[in-house]
Amino acid sequence: MSDEIDNKQSIQAQSSETMNQYSGSAAADIDYVRPAEIPEQDLYHGHSFITKWVFCQDAKVIGVQYFLTAVFTGVVGLILSWLMRLQLGFPGLAGFMTAEHYYQFVTMHGMIMVVYFLTALFLGGFGNYLIPLMVGARDMVFPYVNMISFWMFFIAVAVLMASFFVPGGPTGSGWTLYPPQAILEGTPGSGMGILLMLVSLSLFVIGFTMGGLNYLITILQARTRGMTLMRMPLTVWGIFTATVLAMLAFPALLVSSIMMTLDKVLGTSFFMPTILKAGEVLEYGGGSPILFQHLFWFFGHPEVYIVALPAFGIVSDLISVHARKNIFGYRMMVWAIVGIGALSFFVWAHHMYVSGMNPWFGFFFATTTLIIAVPTAMKVYNWIITLWRGNIRINTVMLWCLGFIVTFVNGGITGIFLGNVSVDVPLSDTYFVVAHFHMVMGIAPLMVIMGAVYHWFPLVAGRMLHEGLGKWHFWITFLGAYSIYFPMHYLGFIGVPRRYFEMYDSPYMTSAIGMNEFISLAAFIVGAAQFILIFNIIKTLKTGKPAGKNPWKANSLEWHTSTVPPEHGNFGDRLPVVHRWPYDFSVPGAKEDFIPQTTPPSEVVHTEVEKT
């Protein structure tokens, strides 16, 4: 260890301007920014391949590592969804597909997509890459812990994937892992499969906690001079709030995993009542399956906002940049994000209306659930009002944003159906729910991810992704995904339950066969279209057009680093100083249609509106 420490170099703090200059005529100088209150951060610069790219402490590299690992799991999830759709659309076509396999695929698909793909991608991937850059920090505050965080996640993914190869296969208990069935025979993978899943989740939580602490403290305590909370890009707000949710919600998941592991391994009865299996009474008794459901959803509902809030934040920035207009109602947007986050801890049991919990809870949870629609609605309004009288570049990034708005509003409104207790009664556990959450979680945030990839790829790789291919990618994905999930709601109306391996005989279900085939075909096409992106990325890395600095003419700090792509330490030898919010687009009277956050007021010719 010790020689490593010797290698550590600190980036020297510069002092071209002296303190006196500021404190002297503070009030008079309009460019005045308080002196730094935090000392310069020492960074560990890797030298060998291993310290530079594998066990690297640079948040940007860690972000890319997270991103690639998450995309890998996403592709696994995608392939699983293909297999599921193959069975649902064309039963019997895939000979190996038994009910066991089907349920294992559903479970792994759900869990991978929600936790290991979206959560890791948004918080681990975009969070690591963008937070230090956007708040003007040299790196995360604890780079070493950050590095461990990624490797914990990596091990968690490895354990998860290992469960495909253990005897009995991965768990097939549904991603909600409800006991008693999760750990009883009769459910696929009730042996090693479920154990590995629980271990993997626990590792994920531990690893995530390490990363999450980094994100939070970096945002709260390591911003650059002039960067107030209310001058942060909404991306940072979204990721920040989502991380807070994660720090407070994952404990419930950890606790329920531990308790379920004990039920499985030691034979405790936390969640296990007296159970009769094959005519024999098992050695369990007195536990309560509903307790697990409460714990799970106390985690699970915030979790769905963990994947939604970063998307909200990112899409706000993308819309604003590409509509060349300030985001409308920034304050409202921030309060809405924080409000949605706070409220999300009070709505968990809307997933349990028909679970047999205390029926009086229905009133409470229906009310809180529908209240969430109000701040969410404000966000939607503000996005579209931002477009109003803007100067909208209809490029790939903007297309993904528009797609996001359509799918999110659609999915949000079906959420309102489900949130309204008595409407949920007929629809719960049917394909209506499946359609709801794919629209709002499977498609909408995915659109944002894609938009973000097209938007920030030039920053990461220094080259522009190909627009034509991007447009193809968008249209196939958007139209395809919409035609998967919009009709699916109607399957729910006729009453088709979810998690059905086969629909067969029932009269109203046979009427759905045609639709199932159609949906499956659309799903194959949409899935395949994702390879356009991968092709695009590979092609661009080789022959793409160099991006140059700030190709989108954006304001936020990540585009104003000393080099593109930014190097370790992000900002060269001087940290930037922030003088304004990141949304000064098309300010009347300004020379250009954007004013970077670093431009001091004295350099801006007369502007009518002074906004911080």
């Binding site: 703090a13 071209s16 002296t18 002196p35 409460h294 009070f346 919990m357 809870f361 001087r574």
Partner: protein, 113 residues
């Protein structure tokens, strides 16, 4: 850039007396809560006393040993507000527990409508 001042002594230390006081109080309160058991108080009295001493002890530890009393409100509020979610969870789970045991007794033991 500006010179970074060598981080001066920002945190004040407190007189030793206050720590000893709190320390003593914690012993006394623990003793009292032990006495609740010793004298076998029952029912509401027992529970309210237990809770009272518990919260008092927890409050003292947080406020003085963990210096929360001297911290700025920004930190204090960030730490305390999330507890409302826990409070809600506790309240609802208490109701849920009662409901569960009610149905169990009703249908498995009492029965007959």
């Amino acid at each position: 850039m500006e010179e970074i001042k060598k981080k001066e002594e920002q945190t004040t230390t407190h007189k030793i007396g206050i720590y000893l006081w709190i320390w003593g109080l914690l012993f006394v309160l623990s003793f009292f809560s032990y006495m609740v058991d010793w004298y076998e108080f029952q029912g509401l009295l027992r529970w309210s006393l237990i809770l009272f001493f518990m919260f008092l002890k927890a409050g003292l530890i947080m406020a003085f040993f963990m210096h929360l009393f001297w911290e700025r409100y920004a930190l204090v509020n960030v730490l305390l507000w999330p507890m409302t979610a826990i409070a809600c969870f506790i309240g609802l789970m208490a109701a849920e527990g009662k409901y569960t045991v009610f149905t169990r007794f009703f249908y498995f033991f009492v029965g007959g409508q």
